[in-house]
Amino acid sequence: MNRTGAPTAPRPVSWGRLLGAELRWVLRRPRTWLMLVLLTAVPVLMAIGIVLSDRPRRSLLAEVTGNGLTLPVVALSILLTLLLPLVVAVAAADAIAGESQHGTLRGLLLAPVGRVRLVAMKSVGVLVVAALAVGLVTVAGLAAGWLMIGPPAVLGADGALLTMSGTTLSPSGALYRIVLVAAWTLVQLAAVGAVALAVSAWTEHPLVVLSSVLGGLILFGVLTSIPALEPLHPWLITTGWGAAADVLRDPVPAGELVRSTLVAAGYLAVGGAVLMVRMVRRDA
C-alpha cells in the first residue's frame, strides 16, 4: 500500500501476452488473410503462365522456364515492386491509424499499455504480416516451381537451379539463395513498414497511409526515371530493389544486396525514430 492507500501497481502485462494479443488481432482480421491468399496465388499463377506460354524474352520471368526453383526468387522480385509493400502498408495503416479511427488505440493506452511498448507491439505485428507474406510467396513459389515446372532438364546429381551466369546450383545451394533473397526482401519490407507506421502514427485515416506508400512508390519511380536526379537515386529505397535478381548470378554480387540493405536500415531507423517521437506525443 502506498500513501494513497492504493494496492501496489500491478506488473505490466508480459511481452508474450501483449504480442499474443496483437498477433491474434492481426490474424483475425479478414483482410490480412485475403491479402495473404492473393499473394500466395501469384507464384502459382506465374507457374501456370510459364507452363502455358513460350519463354519470354527480356524478362526476369524467362529465368523460370524449365528452371522452377528460380520461381520464388522471381516472384519475390516482381512482387516487391508493388504488392508486397502494399500489404505491409495495409497492416501498418490498420495498426495505428485504424486503431485510432475505431477508438481502440485509446483503450490500449488506458489499459495501460505504455506508449513505447505500444510501438514495439505494433511493429512486431506489421513485421509478422511482412514475414508471413514473404514466407508464403517463397513457399508457394518453391512448391509451384518444383511441382509444375521442375528443375532444369536432365537433373544431375547436383543441379537444381540454373543461374543467369550459366552455372548450376545444388539443391542446398539453391535453397540458400532462396532463403537469402527472402531474408533480404523481409528487410526491405521492414523498412517500408517502419515508414508506413510513422505515417500511420500521424493520422487516423488508414487510407492516408496506403496512399502515402503507393504515392511514395510512384514518386520514387518517377524520380528514378529522371537522369538529372541521378545523385538522388542511391537514396531511394526502390533503386536497390533490382538486387533481388542478383542471387541468380554466380558468384552472388554482394555489392548491391549489401548497399540496398544499408539503405533499408537507414529508412528503418528514420521511420522508427519518427514513429517513436510521434507515438510518445500523440493524442489518442
Binding site: V154, G159, T167, P251, A273, V280
Partner: protein, 390 residues
C-alpha cells in the same frame, strides 16, 4: 511538469537515432569520395614504363563505365549501351590469361569465361553457350576487358605523340593511385583534350581510364568501383554448359563472330581513343586502313554489305565492352540480315571527297559517303575528308 521532460527526453533520443541513421547513410553513400593519398613522387616516364611492364594481376572487381560519348541512336540497333549512360561489369582474372567477365542486366546476364583454351560466351536471355576458338584471344581476353588492358594499350599507342605527365595522386576503389595524364602534342589534330589513367601505386595496374574531350565532363570513364587483388577461385575460370542449354560453335571466318570477338576482347574502351588502326587483327576482310597515327589516326574503309559503320567506327565500339546488346547474337544476326538504315543519321555534307553524311560525337566524328566509303577518328570532319582522299 514531469511529463514535459519525459517527452523531451524521448524526443531527443529519437532525434539522435534519426541523426545517427542519417549520418551512417550519408557516410556509406559518400564513402567513395576520398582525399588524395600521400605517395612518393614518380617520374612520368618511369610510371609509363612500369605500367607497360607490370605483370597482369590476379584480381576480382566491379567496373563501371560512364559513357558520355554522345553517340546517336541507330535505327535497327537497340539503343541501350550505345547511348549515354552508366553500366557495370564484373571481372575476374587469374593473371595468367584465364578470366571471367559478367555483364549484368536487370533481367539476365551475359557471361564470358576464358579457360585458357577456349572462350565461352553464355547469354541467359536465350540460354545459349557459344564456344569461341582461342585464336582470337591470344593477346587479350574478356578478363582483361577492364581498365587494366584498355589503359595499357592506350598508353602504349599514344606515348610517342603525347606529352606525358603525372598529375598527383588519387584513390580508386579504395586504393592509392598515381594519375597519369597523356595530352596530345601540339600538331595533333584531335578533338580530344587528354586521357587520364589512374595507376595503382602498388601493382602498377591501371584502375581507371578517363577520356576528356572539349567539355568539362569526361566523355568516357572506365574504372573499378571495387577491386581485390589476389588469387581467385579456379572454378571461376571454367565453364561447363549446363543441361538444357544450346551450345554453338563460332568459327573465326564468321562475320557475326568478328563482332563478338571484338567485344569479347574487351577492346572497346581503347577503341574509343585513336590508334585503333595499329591493331593488326583489325584489318581483316574489310580492308580497313589507317591514315595517320597517334591521336589523329583515322580509320578508312568501305561499309561492307550488312555491316553498319556503327560496328566499325572507333567511337561506336567504345561501350561494347560492357554492353550486352551489342554482342547479342540476335543483334549480330540482324546485322547480317539487313543493314541498318543510316539515312536518318547525322547531317548531309559534301566536300572534295564527295557527298555523304557526317556524324559528330563528343569524342570524334565519322563520315559515311553516299558511295559506301567511310572514315572515322577522334578528329574533326575536315581531317576525315582529307583522309578519305588519300
Amino acid at each position: 511538469m514531469t511529463s514535459g521532460s519525459r517527452v523531451r527526453r524521448g524526443g531527443i533520443a529519437a532525434a539522435l537515432a534519426a541523426a545517427l541513421a542519417l549520418a551512417l547513410t550519408v557516410g556509406f553513400v559518400t564513402a567513395r569520395a576520398s582525399a588524395a593519398p600521400d605517395l612518393p613522387p614518380v617520374p612520368p616516364e618511369e610510371l609509363v614504363a612500369s605500367v607497360l611492364e607490370a605483370e597482369p594481376a590476379a584480381l576480382a572487381g566491379t567496373v563501371a563505365v560512364d559513357n558520355r560519348l554522345g553517340l546517336p541512336a541507330i535505327p535497327g540497333v537497340p539503343a541501350e549501351g550505345f547511348t549515354d549512360g552508366t553500366s557495370t561489369a564484373r571481372v575476374w582474372s587469374d593473371g595468367e590469361g584465364r578470366g571471367r567477365l559478367a555483364l549484368p542486366r536487370p533481367d539476365g546476364e551475359r557471361t564470358y569465361v576464358r579457360d585458357g583454351t577456349v572462350t565461352w560466351a553464355y547469354d541467359s536471355a536465350d540460354r545459349t553457350a557459344t564456344r569461341i576458338p582461342a585464336r582470337e584471344h591470344d593477346r587479350s581476353g574478356p578478363a582483361e576487358g577492364d581498365p587494366q588492358a584498355a589503359a595499357r594499350e592506350i598508353v602504349g599507342k599514344l606515348r610517342d605523340t603525347s606529352t606525358v605527365d603525372v598529375d598527383g595522386t588519387t584513390e580508386v576503389a579504395g586504393r592509392p593511385a598515381y594519375t597519369l595524364v597523356l595530352a596530345p602534342q601540339p600538331g595533333e589534330r584531335t578533338v580530344l583534350r587528354e586521357v587520364r589513367a589512374a595507376v595503382d601505386a602498388e601493382t602498377r595496374t591501371p584502375l581507371e581510364l578517363t577520356v576528356l574531350g572539349a567539355g568539362p565532363e569526361p566523355v568516357l570513364r572506365i574504372g573499378f568501383d571495387d577491386v581485390t587483388f589476389g588469387p581467385q577461385d579456379p572454378a571461376l575460370f571454367t565453364f561447363t554448359p549446363p543441361p538444357g542449354v544450346t551450345v554453338e560453335d563460332k568459327k573465326f571466318e564468321d562475320k557475326g563472330l568478328k563482332d563478338k570477338g571484338n567485344a569479347d576482347k574487351g577492346t572497346g574502351p581503347d577503341a574509343a581513343a585513336p590508334g585503333r588502326g595499329h591493331d593488326p587483327d583489325r584489318g581483316g576482310a574489310d580492308a580497313l586502313r589507317t591514315v595517320g597515327d597517334g591521336w589523329d589516326a583515322v580509320v578508312v574503309g568501305t561499309v561492307p554489305q550488312g555491316r553498319g559503320p556503327q560496328a566499325t567506327g572507333p567511337q561506336a565500339t567504345g561501350p561494347q565492352a560492357t554492353d550486352p546488346q551489342t554482342t547479342d547474337p540476335e543483334t549480330s544476326d540482324q546485322r547480317g540480315a539487313d543493314r541498318p538504315d543510316l539515312s536518318a543519321l547525322g547531317t548531309p555534307v559534301s566536300g572534295p571527297w564527295g557527298t555523304g553524311r557526317e556524324i559528330t560525337t563528343n569524342a570524334g566524328s565519322a563520315l559515311v559517303t553516299d558511295d559506301g566509303r567511310f572514315a572515322a577518328g577522334a578528329v574533326g570532319t575536315d581531317v576525315l575528308g582529307a583522309a578519305l582522299q588519300q
